[in-house]
Symmetry: C2
Subunit: 168 residues, 2 copies
């Protein structure tokens, strides 16, 4: 993926975008990919789970009564129902979560952590935030944080996506 243009040539002739702006764009895309890849690798290595697993399990862990209906879980982490359903199928197969019958709604079910899932999550939580800090947050100057926060929320706004920080 990545809108990787793979060269540093003269896009300007076709696009009105100069070299510096292309470099900015390419690096901006690239840094995300590399960060996600590295964080995923560490999560996998240290806790044996993917980022998807982590998000799902954290949402369950934080839920009242440690359980959620798939739809509520999907809302919590911003996933489509189909994606979540496939993910849950795989996680059940790997013993990280279980589905339980739902008494009040015959269509639905509850999703709950297994003992193994809970153990993997706790291990992951210990390290993941620390990695995000050391690979990203700790490398930014205060004014850079401000600039990135402003810029990203403005772009998200333009895209019609919700921002944590609110539009600039």
């Amino acid at each position: 993926m990545s809108t990787n243009f793979g060269y540093a040539g003269n896009m300007s002739e076709v696009s009105e975008i100069d070299e510096a702006e292309w470099a900015l764009w390419v690096d901006f895309v690239r840094v995300q990919q590399e960060l996600a890849r590295e964080l995923d690798r560490r999560l996998q290595r240290d806790a044996g789970i993917s980022q998807g697993d982590y998000g799902v399990m954290l949402a369950l862990f934080e839920a009242p009564d440690r359980r959620l209906r798939p739809s509520a879980l999907g809302d919590a982490i911003g996933w489509e129902k189909s994606r979540l359903s496939h993910q849950l199928t795989r996680m059940v197969a790997r013993g990280l979560v279980e589905r339980e019958e739902c008494d009040t709604d015959g269509r639905g079910s509850w999703v709950v952590l297994t003992r193994d899932g809970r153990r993997a999550l706790l291990r992951a939580m210990r390290d993941h935030a620390r990695d995000i800090r050391s690979l990203f947050l700790d490398l930014l100057e205060p004014d850079e944080k401000r600039a990135i926060a402003d810029a990203t929320s403005r772009v998200l706004d333009r895209l019609g996506a919700p921002s944590r920080l609110g539009a600039a």
Copy 2:
């Protein structure tokens, strides 16, 4: 994927990362995803190709003699050989590129654009850069561009990944 924690609660108790920094991280990840998704959607709609297709074809288009060995192509766009091989298999099936025998190295082959591939690429180039500008570059203030450029190249440096801009 996305390191989506799915909630805005008190991560600080587990991570030493405050609310504002979490919001920054979440938005930073999010904006990439949304940008990639939107650009992909437009590329697909306007030219019938994916971002992967686009990157591959642009590299071929820019190459001397309009052809590359798979390994050189992989280097150009930063892809692993296996990923590229699968991608090329699919693109051949869709008629966007062809493989040709390589005389000088019995193991390898050349990858070349087909007429259809070239046509799709030209159509895509007309619009893609404009979209990147309108969805991203045009929304940034000069000082924000500087801050993002500095920060991303520093993070890439930390990750051991090459940066277009050079480390800060």
